[in-house]
């Protein structure tokens, strides 16, 4: 049984039909797989041209190869765009989280905090003056409570 060498059209036909325009429901991975099919077929056609320089359908092979190259690029671009669209909200949320941390760190030093600590120092110093461990602890508790209350 002889196996006829596939022509350029044979190599490309399946790939072109397999990489027809994707639907909205296609995932990025599916689009990437279609791009792979197109790219693989294009490479097959390139090899066909290189290994069969006397073949009668070289021009047709080159045209199909260029079509498939372009389709592979288009599909990969579409896949990335789809990923971008799917992640837009998540990207915005993560950016927002980063800004919240910055805002927190910038706003931590507030006048309320300064006043609480200022008065606490006096209270604690007084407790320390009399050497009253219980008083110190009570003062620490008051500092903690005051700062808790000052939380925004």
């Amino acid at each position: 049984m002889s196996t006829a060498q596939p022509s350029a059209a044979d190599i490309a036909a399946g790939a072109v039909s397999a990489t027809s325009a994707p639907t909205d429901g296609d995932t990025a991975d599916a689009l990437a797989q279609l791009a792979d099919v197109a790219g693989h077929a294009s490479t097959g056609l390139f090899n066909y041209r290189r290994d069969n320089p006397a073949a009668p359908d070289l021009d047709q092979a080159l045209n199909l190869e260029m079509t498939l190259d372009q389709r592979a690029i288009d599909l990969r671009v579409q896949a990335v765009r789809l990923l971008g669209a799917q992640t837009a909200q998540a990207l915005a949320q993560m950016k927002d989280a980063s800004q919240k941390v910055d805002a927190f760190l910038a706003g931590e030093k507030k006048i309320e905090g300064q006043l609480v600590i200022a008065s606490a120092v006096i209270g604690l110093a007084g407790a320390a003056l009399v050497g009253d461990a219980g008083g110190i602890l009570a003062a620490v508790v008051s500092v903690h409570s005051a700062l808790d209350a000052a939380k925004s």
């Binding site: 990025a28 931590e108 905090g113 600590i117 903690h144």
Partner: protein, 296 residues
């Protein structure tokens, strides 16, 4: 309640309050390195496409000008360059998030220090009616130290609340973004690398065939093909190295998300030595691959 707080203050005085924030810092560092490892993938898509197009041009009939071929390749692959900008956003978001976590976990809870110093200075100047200092330096030092510990404890608590909320609120977003990075790297970029590799490998095979010199007299004319093999071989090696990076990334990005979930689940239990082995292993793996690349 007072005893518990007192014990916490004592712990702060003895060893600091931020022990459970260290794993968050570690995670932030690991996530940042993941984002760094991903960064070249974004530009690599168009670069690989151009390389493939250049090699294809080498095999086409007609006149050949390398500069013209490069310009044509750049034009053909330009849409992928634009797509790479979108792909880069995923890595940037991860890097910003990682940096925010590292900032929160690494923040010094000493924002009140200057106020404490100021008030200690004022208190130090207070004198009784007979002129003796109301607070001597030893007592002032002890009091301000305790006050500082209390402030650190309170501030640290606020940082931990923020960090916990940040981790919890962003887990779904992190998962989506890392999945997008994986899809881009493992499907889109890897597919392009394979396409390019196939053309490179085919051309190298033809160079090897063309290098065959049947007689000594043929050797001279085969030298260009023989020398060209080295360049093609190097391009193939670089392509395969990049593919190894992509595979390492796709395989271990899951570990990063798992570590993030682990941090959330164990935030109250984790100590300074909390496990982040998978992420650490990934970091080591990426580092090893990067070292390989540097050695090329």
């Amino acid at each position: 309640m007072s005893k518990r707080l007192g014990a916490a203050v004592a712990l702060c005085l003895l060893g600091g309050c931020a022990a459970q924030m260290q794993p968050v810092a570690d995670f932030g560092a690991a996530a940042n390195r993941l984002a760094t490892a991903y960064k070249p993938f974004a530009t690599g898509l168009a670069t690989s496409c151009e390389q493939r197009a250049r090699y294809v041009a080498l095999g086409n009939p007609g006149a050949f000008d390398a500069a013209v071929a490069q310009r044509a390749a750049a034009s053909q692959c330009a849409p992928l360059k634009e797509a790479g900008v979108t792909a880069a956003l995923f890595g940037q978001a991860l890097a910003e998030y990682a940096t925010a976590l590292a900032k929160a976990s690494g923040a010094k809870a000493t924002v009140f220090d200057s106020d404490l110093r100021g008030m200690t200075g004022v208190a130090g100047k207070l004198v009784a009616r007979d002129g003796t200092a109301l607070f001597d330096s030893t007592k002032l030092g002890a009091a301000s130290k305790i006050a500082r510990a209390a402030a650190v404890l309170a501030t640290q608590g606020r940082l931990e609340v923020l960090t916990r909320a940040t981790l919890q609120d962003n887990h779904a977003a992190l998962t989506i973004v890392v999945e997008a990075m994986k899809s881009y790297a493992g499907s889109v970029y890897a597919g392009q690398l394979v396409d390019t590799h196939d053309v490179l490998a085919g051309e190298l095979g033809r160079l090897v065939l063309a290098s065959d010199a049947a007689t000594p007299a043929d050797v001279e004319s085969r030298l260009p093909w023989r020398f060209a093999q080295a360049a093609a071989g190097a391009d193939i090696a670089a392509n395969e190295l990049e593919m190894r990076r992509v595979r390492a990334f796709a395989k271990t990005a899951d570990a990063l998300v798992a570590a993030h979930a682990d941090l959330i689940a164990n935030f109250d239990k984790i100590g300074g030595a909390r496990r982040l082995e998978l992420v650490s292993a990934f970091v080591a793996q990426v580092q090893a691959i990067t070292d390989d690349a540097a050695a090329l």
